[in-house]
Structures are given as structure tokens and as C-alpha cells.
């Protein structure tokens, strides 16, 4: 089975989609989480509560919402994205960016608040201050990255609903497992499951090595 080119195509697509979703989530979630952690504005706690709720969004609900938006007759139907890898990426970003945002905010809030004063008092610009705070919080921030990747590589509901599990186009490891199970091909389903676990382990292992290299001795 490992020599089946289709399996490698599915695996590669799973990694591409999950990797891109995680990257986009990072680009949105890191600044947003930083703003939530450091900013002072009315409604901040409500905003935080919304983000924290978003961390537990059920993928099928996200899938339903994105499908409604991208459906041919939906408000974004003209984009013709339904049943494409791009649709899966959109759904996965909605699932994972609150994870990055919420964990980024939590990571920065546990830092000593005087650290900001100290950095500014040494002549840091706002950007330099934020970069230093990210550096100080790099261990929990890498944990946020791992959590976001884990959330998207393992979700099935949204990928199935907006991707359609089309062979050679939008089939990813999780949707392939569902399909094989529904057909009673348990051996294939188990093999795909092991492959998914192995990939998840390898990615997290690499991130953990980076994380622990920066750990306080």
C-alpha cells in the first residue's frame, strides 16, 4: 500500500493543506493574539471569550458554514471554490486561527508585565518589543503552533463537507480513512490511520526538538 502513488498524493495533499492552513492561521493569529494580550480597549474580555470559544469550534459546524458560503448559490459561490483544496484551507483556517490567537494571548499574558516597560525603557520600538516578547514566549508559542497543526491535520468533518472527498483532487488522509471504513476496507483504513499518526508525530517531533532547544536549562 505504501507504494501506491495515490496514497502519496493523498498524503502530500493532506500536508500541503494542513501546512498552508497552519501558516495562514499563524499570520492571522499571532498578531491578533498579541493585540489581545497587550492592548487595552473596550470589549477586550468579550473578544477574548469569543476567541476562546472559537478554540473549540466543531469542524462540522465550520464545514457547514463554509459550505453555505461557497455553495454555487451562496454569497461566495461565484468564486467556484467549493470542493477544491482552497475550500478545505478556508475551513481549516477558521478552525485553527482561534487556537493560535487564544494560545498566543495566553502565552504573552503569563509574561511579567514589567518586561514591556523594561524593553521600552531600553529604547525598543513597538515592533522590537513585540518581537522580544515573542522570543521570550517562544516555548508556549511553539505549543500553539503544534496545537493548530494537530487540529487541522486530524479534522475530517470540514474537509469532507467543503472538499467533497474527490479522488485525486480533494481527498485527504482523514476523508480517505472515513471512505475506506464505510466500504468495510478496515485494513486500508488502519494503514491510512497509522500513516496519519506517523506524519503527525514527525511534524510534532520536529517542532518539539526546536521548542526544547530553546527551553530554559
Amino acid at each position: 500500500m505504501l507504494f501506491d502513488p495515490e496514497i502519496w498524493q493523498i498524503t502530500l495533499l493532506s500536508l500541503e493543506v494542513a501546512g498552508l492552513s497552519t501558516l495562514i492561521s499563524l499570520v492571522i493569529g499571532l498578531p491578533l493574539g498579541t493585540w489581545l494580550a497587550l492592548g487595552k480597549f473596550p470589549g477586550r474580555s468579550i473578544f477574548m471569550s469569543v476567541v476562546n470559544t472559537g478554540m473549540g469550534l466543531p469542524p462540522v459546524v465550520v464545514g457547514l458554514f463554509v459550505a453555505l458560503m461557497l455553495w454555487r448559490s451562496g454569497p461566495l459561490g461565484d468564486l467556484q471554490l467549493i470542493y477544491t483544496p482552497a475550500a478545505i484551507v478556508i475551513a481549516q483556517v477558521i478552525i485553527s486561527f482561534p487556537v493560535v490567537t487564544g494560545l498566543t494571548a495566553a502565552s504573552l499574558q503569563i509574561l511579567d508585565p514589567r518586561l514591556r516597560l523594561q524593553l521600552l525603557g531600553l529604547g525598543a520600538s513597538t515592533t522590537q518589543m513585540v518581537l522580544m516578547l515573542w522570543r521570550e514566549a517562544r516555548l508556549p508559542l511553539l505549543a500553539a503552533l503544534m496545537a493548530a497543526f494537530g487540529a487541522v491535520i486530524s479534522e475530517v468533518g470540514a474537509s469532507m463537507m467543503v472538499g467533497g472527498n474527490i479522488r485525486g483532487q480533494t481527498r485527504v488522509l482523514t476523508t480517505a480513512i472515513v471512505l475506506e471504513t464505510s466500504k468495510g476496507n478496515f485494513n486500508s483504513a488502519i494503514a491510512l490511520g497509522v500513516l496519519l499518526l506517523a506524519i503527525t508525530f514527525l511534524v510534532n517531533w520536529a517542532l518539539t526538538v526546536i521548542q526544547q532547544r530553546g527551553a530554559k536549562r
Partner: protein
């Protein structure tokens, strides 16, 4: 010379700090002394523009800094807080950080950092990770990190407050030597009269957010301006 004029900080309707006029001569060390909650740290943070001010101005050599952006102004000063607040990197990188913020080249940074590591007796710590330092070592690094910037005004907020007496005395002795040598104009916040007397020529007594008396340390101790100052000095004399 540095002058502070009509500096005011309010919290809600309450004015928590009001400094009419305070002057610090070039190369002088001025101690700001007062009881806990008197507004000493508020004054320091307001001076560093790390706190919203509700009026007032600071003049460097007669020139107002009101038109300068916070960043430009903050790069003329340096701040040391009670805890070292070092970053999770090497001692060298901690001391170099402010110079890097200012965009100095590596070849300029290295000799400057080395000078201050030597001056504060911390050369042997250069490659150690900051998290491995003792409180006293950490505060030396924190002072080196500020002094390496050669600030026009150094702001020290109870830098010895978290140290044990022997460590504090050693660091006080070193600063007593270093500040005049480096000609660093310094505002030194403390509630400890002994520290003020050792490090500063003049002091300003601040009580309830107002500067009550300014003058030579011995002058103030011998002739307090009012009953509040007298009571504060009497209470502090245990440590004097």
C-alpha cells in the same frame, strides 16, 4: 541640566503626582526618596514616558522634549527596575540589547559591552545564560545593560530593593564609583535613606505625590521642611 516642569499624572479624578519644578544638574545623582505609595515609581515611569501624563514638560539643557516622539525620547534615557528582568539569553546579549535596538553594528557593540562587563565586575559571566544568575549578578547585568547605552538620563527604580544587604552594599560601592566616572546624570528612586546618602548628593522628598523638599541629603535630615517630612525621616532613621 535636566528640568522637570509641572509634571502631572491623574488616575480618574485624583491627581496622584504633581511635580512643580525639579532640576538635576549634569552628571548629578539625585535621589527621590519617600514612603511606599508616595508616587516615586509613578514619577519615574512618567519621566520615561511609560505612563500617560496629564501635563508638564521635561527640558534637556533648556530644550523641551515635548515635540519628540516617545521612541526618540526613550532612546536618550535608560531605565533600571527593582528586578533585573533579564531576557532568556546570554549575559552578553542582554547587555547588547539596547544597542541592537538602536541599530549599532556588531563591531561597535562588542567593545562597549565588554567595557561595562569589566566595569561591573561581570566579565566572567559574559557567556552565561541570564536565567542562571543570582539576584546580585542579575542586577549588575541589568545596570550594565542600561549604562552601556550612555544615556543622557539614567533612571533607577529601587535597584537594590530585592538584594540581600552584603550584595546591596557591594553594588552600592561599585555604583558610587561608576556613576561619577561615567558622568551619568541619574535619578535614583529609593525609600532607603542610607542608600540615598551613599549614592546621591541631593535628594527630593516625595510624599503623597508632591515633592515636599529638595536639597542636600544632610540638609534635609537636619532641617525637615514640614511635619510629614520629619515623620518620614524619623520612621526611616531606623535604617539610617
Amino acid at each position: 541640566m535636566i528640568e522637570i516642569r509641572d509634571l502631572r499624572v491623574r488616575r480618574g479624578e485624583r491627581t496622584v503626582l504633581e511635580v512643580g519644578h525639579l532640576q538635576i544638574a549634569k552628571n548629578e545623582v539625585l535621589a527621590i526618596v519617600g514612603p511606599n505609595g508616595a508616587g516615586k515609581s509613578t514619577l519615574l515611569l512618567a519621566l520615561a514616558r511609560l505612563l500617560r501624563r496629564d501635563g508638564g514638560d521635561i527640558l534637556f539643557n533648556g530644550m523641551s522634549v515635548a515635540g519628540e516622539s516617545d521612541l526618540v525620547f526613550r532612546r536618550r534615557i535608560a531605565l533600571v527596575l527593582q528586578d533585573p528582568l533579564l531576557f532568556d539569553t546570554s549575559v552578553f546579549d542582554n547587555i547588547a540589547i539596547g544597542l541592537r535596538f538602536r541599530g549599532l553594528h556588531k563591531s561597535d557593540i562588542q567593545p562597549r559591552v565588554n567595557v561595562w562587563l569589566e566595569s561591573l565586575g561581570s566579565a566572567q559571566l559574559k557567556n552565561r545564560r541570564a536565567s542562571e544568575l543570582s539576584g546580585g549578578e542579575g542586577q549588575r547585568v541589568s545596570l550594565a545593560r542600561a549604562l552601556v547605552l550612555e544615556p543622557e538620563l539614567l533612571l533607577l527604580d529601587e535597584p537594590f530593593g530585592a538584594l540581600d544587604p552584603p550584595t546591596r552594599n557591594r553594588l552600592l560601592d561599585d555604583l558610587k564609583r561608576i556613576l561619577p566616572e561615567s558622568r551619568t546624570t541619574t535619578i535614583f528612586i529609593t525609600h532607603n535613606l542610607t542608600e540615598a546618602r551613599q549614592l546621591a548628593g541631593r535628594m527630593a522628598i516625595i510624599i503623597a505625590g508632591r515633592v515636599r523638599q529638595t536639597g542636600l541629603v544632610t540638609e534635609i535630615i537636619n532641617a525637615p521642611a514640614d511635619e510629614d517630612v520629619r515623620s518620614f525621616l524619623a520612621a526611616e532613621n531606623g535604617g539610617y
